[in-house]
């Protein structure tokens, strides 16, 4: 039981990193990206390929994965960022498909559709991570590792959001023309936003691949991009805390029906509920559960004392 809980927690953390990074792109900068799973896949494949060939220290590989994903973020960013709204969404979707297609067909590097299944267990300073061990300790250690990265991601993104940089991103989201006449180089900021978002998505992909130790293009489909987007939207766009809340709701909602396995209900039911959530959210609360502004913790603490004592 505890095992299960930890795995769900691991998944939640993974999706938190992903949703936080997408939130930077979609929520703060206002660029709807539908290829987040592709950035993740680039990170995951980088890790998988380097680990199988060289078995280097994981932290190094992790960093490299992030950087490569971020490089691809820039590559997609530069040509498509001149597009707006729906067009950008579709262009990023197309980019995602292209990445999957290349992964499937570049067999000498990625082993194509069959995927890479013999990734060695990762080692950090000679400690071996074995999250699939039957014992619970190794899972907890992996969980702590991913939690550390989640905290780092959260800290980094919140920090830059509160700075000049973040304000510039928000200005771009609000009004590009006004932003540019305030002296903001919008193309550069958009590319940076994509690069940072892709970096963390790459990190998440890297963590994904050392957890499962086997990856294939099927792990990074369009559906995953949509799920990440749903998390961001459900919580509330442009709000880091909301992204985490969204992951806390969506990820269990995604996996728990599978775990419950209620026999007489057709399995497609989960997916239908998922779709319903999307539609109903959009109709009744499009700003997400929390909206754009952070919850006013001080007021909440004064009123009821059940919430986290943040700050």
């Amino acid at each position: 039981m505890l095992n299960l809980l930890i795995i769900v927690l691991i998944y939640i953390c993974l999706f938190c990193i992903l949703s936080l990074s997408l939130n930077l792109i979609a929520g703060y900068t206002g660029l709807l990206s539908l290829c987040h799973a592709s950035f993740m896949s680039i990170g995951a494949y980088t890790t998988a390929i380097i680990m199988t060939k060289f078995n280097a220290d994981f932290l190094l590989v992790l960093l490299l994965s992030g950087i490569l994903a971020s490089f691809f973020g820039i590559i997609i960013g530069l040509p498509t960022l001149r597009l707006k709204g729906d067009y950008l969404a579709i262009a990023t979707l197309g980019f995602g498909e292209i990445v999957v297609n290349i992964i499937i067909n570049w067999e000498s590097l990625t082993r194509g559709a069959r995927g890479i299944h013999d990734i060695p267990t990762a080692k950090i300073f000679n400690y071996r991570l074995m999250p699939k061990d039957a014992g619970i300790l190794s899972k907890v250690i992996y969980f702590l590792l991913i939690l550390i990265f989640l905290v780092l991601t959260y800290a980094f993104i919140s920090k830059i959001i509160k700075s000049r940089f973040g304000r510039a991103l928000e200005a771009i989201r609000e009004d590009e023309i006004a932003a540019v006449s305030m002296g903001i180089n919008i193309t550069k900021y958009k590319v940076f936003s994509f690069a940072i978002g892709a970096f963390f998505a790459g990190i998440a992909g890297s963590l994904f691949s050392i957890y499962f130790l086997s990856i294939s293009p099927g792990n990074f489909t369009f559906n995953i991009s949509i799920m990440i987007l749903c998390i961001v939207v459900l919580g509330g766009m442009g709000n880091n805390f909301a992204s985490i809340l969204g992951a806390l709701i969506v990820v269990p909602a995604y996996y728990i029906p599978q775990l419950l396995n209620i026999p007489f209900i057709p399995p497609q039911f989960n997916q239908i509920i998922f779709g319903l959530i999307l539609v109903l959210m959009m109709i009744f609360r499009p700003q997400g559960l929390l909206g754009r502004k952070k919850p006013d913790f001080e007021r909440i603490i004064k009123r009821k004392s059940f919430f986290i004592r943040s700050r």
Partner: protein, 324 residues
């Protein structure tokens, strides 16, 4: 070295035209909705799928009573009509439930809602119709006939004729009738159209109904050759959307052009590209037999990115400047 005979080229041309005609029919739905509501009806592909399955169910039930070949053809036409009506209704219902409340929301909201609808429809169809491929038996003898080494089937001809016919009718409807004018006015400016006494809600519903019923026809034509499946809508829907963008979204003629162009690019264009790659390799003294044809899905998406960069308004679209 090139292995490309004229026959093969012409065969690719026929294949491409058939595929393109289907893309064009679906693209019409996207382009009409985008023209009026300025959002991508992501669930369009799923409406197509539902329409196909309805038609298939009706057709199978009716055909079990058929005694002659002529009756089967009549039943086929009946099933098409029923599918058109029901998927038209489905389109309208979806619009009323999932999109209408979002008309003044941010641009992202209806897109996400549409994705939700698409997930719901796919999975509902899986429950109702099963997850397997289902065959749509030809109502006629589909033996190919040979024309100078190119084989053409009756379905090829039917697909092209039906698509062209429907597109011409639609073009006429939009350009010449009063309702068509109202539609164009609504797509120019909803508020002003409403002030001019146009019932915007009705026009939007009508748009969805027409788009969806065209999609049903496209789905049936597609299923004749490629079978019906609950997940058939997504990829073909996306490609049709790309076709609409290529042609110039919001533009009916553009959708037709884009569809045909994309169909040709995916077949004949990709084959020529392959030959190009092979010959470039051979210049450098390397010999490869070809490139994986699975990459042809990249054609559509690369075209999308390319066209959006070169001419975001599409081939026939008008440039719209943002007023400062």
């Amino acid at each position: 070295m090139f292995n490309l005979s004229l026959q093969e080229l012409l065969q690719h041309l026929i294949n491409g035209l058939t595929l393109g005609a289907i893309y064009a029919l679906i693209a019409l739905g996207y382009t009409m909705v985008y023209g009026i509501l300025k959002f991508i009806n992501f669930a369009h592909g799923e409406i197509l799928m539902v329409g196909t399955f309805i038609s298939l169910a009706v057709y199978n039930v009716l055909c079990s009573t058929a005694t002659s070949g002529m009756m089967i053809i009549v039943f086929f036409i009946i099933s098409i009509i029923i599918a058109m009506i029901s998927s038209g209704l489905l389109g309208v219902v979806i619009e009323k439930i999932a999109y209408k409340p979002l008309r003044n929301a941010s641009r992202l909201a209806p897109l996400l809602s549409a994705i939700g609808v698409s997930i719901i429809l796919t999975n509902l169809a899986q429950i109702i119709f099963g997850t397997k491929d289902q065959r749509f038996a030809y109502p006629y003898n589909n033996d190919p006939f040979n024309l100078f080494g190119i084989s053409i089937t009756p379905t090829h001809i039917l697909t092209i004729i039906v698509s062209l016919f429907l597109m011409v009718i639609l073009k006429f409807f939009i350009d010449k009738t009063k309702l068509g004018k109202a539609m164009r006015a609504t797509s120019e400016n909803k508020r002003i159209a409403a002030l001019m006494g146009i019932n915007v809600d009705f026009i939007v519903s009508l748009t969805f109904a027409i788009g969806s019923s065209l999609a049903a026809v496209a789905g049936i034509l597609y299923a004749l050759d490629y079978k019906a499946k609950s997940t058939m809508g997504l990829l073909i829907g996306l490609k049709a959307f790309i076709a609409a963008v290529i042609g110039g979204i919001g533009n009916i003629t553009g959708a037709m052009l884009g569809g045909l162009l994309l169909g040709l690019l995916e077949t004949i264009g990709f084959r020529l590209f392959e030959i190009l790659v092979v010959s470039i390799y051979s210049i450098f003294g390397k010999s490869i037999t070809g490139i994986p044809l699975g990459l042809k899905h990249m054609v559509a998406f690369s075209m999308l990115i390319l066209i959006l960069l070169i001419k975001p308004s599409g081939i026939l679209g008008k440039n719209v400047r943002e007023k400062v």
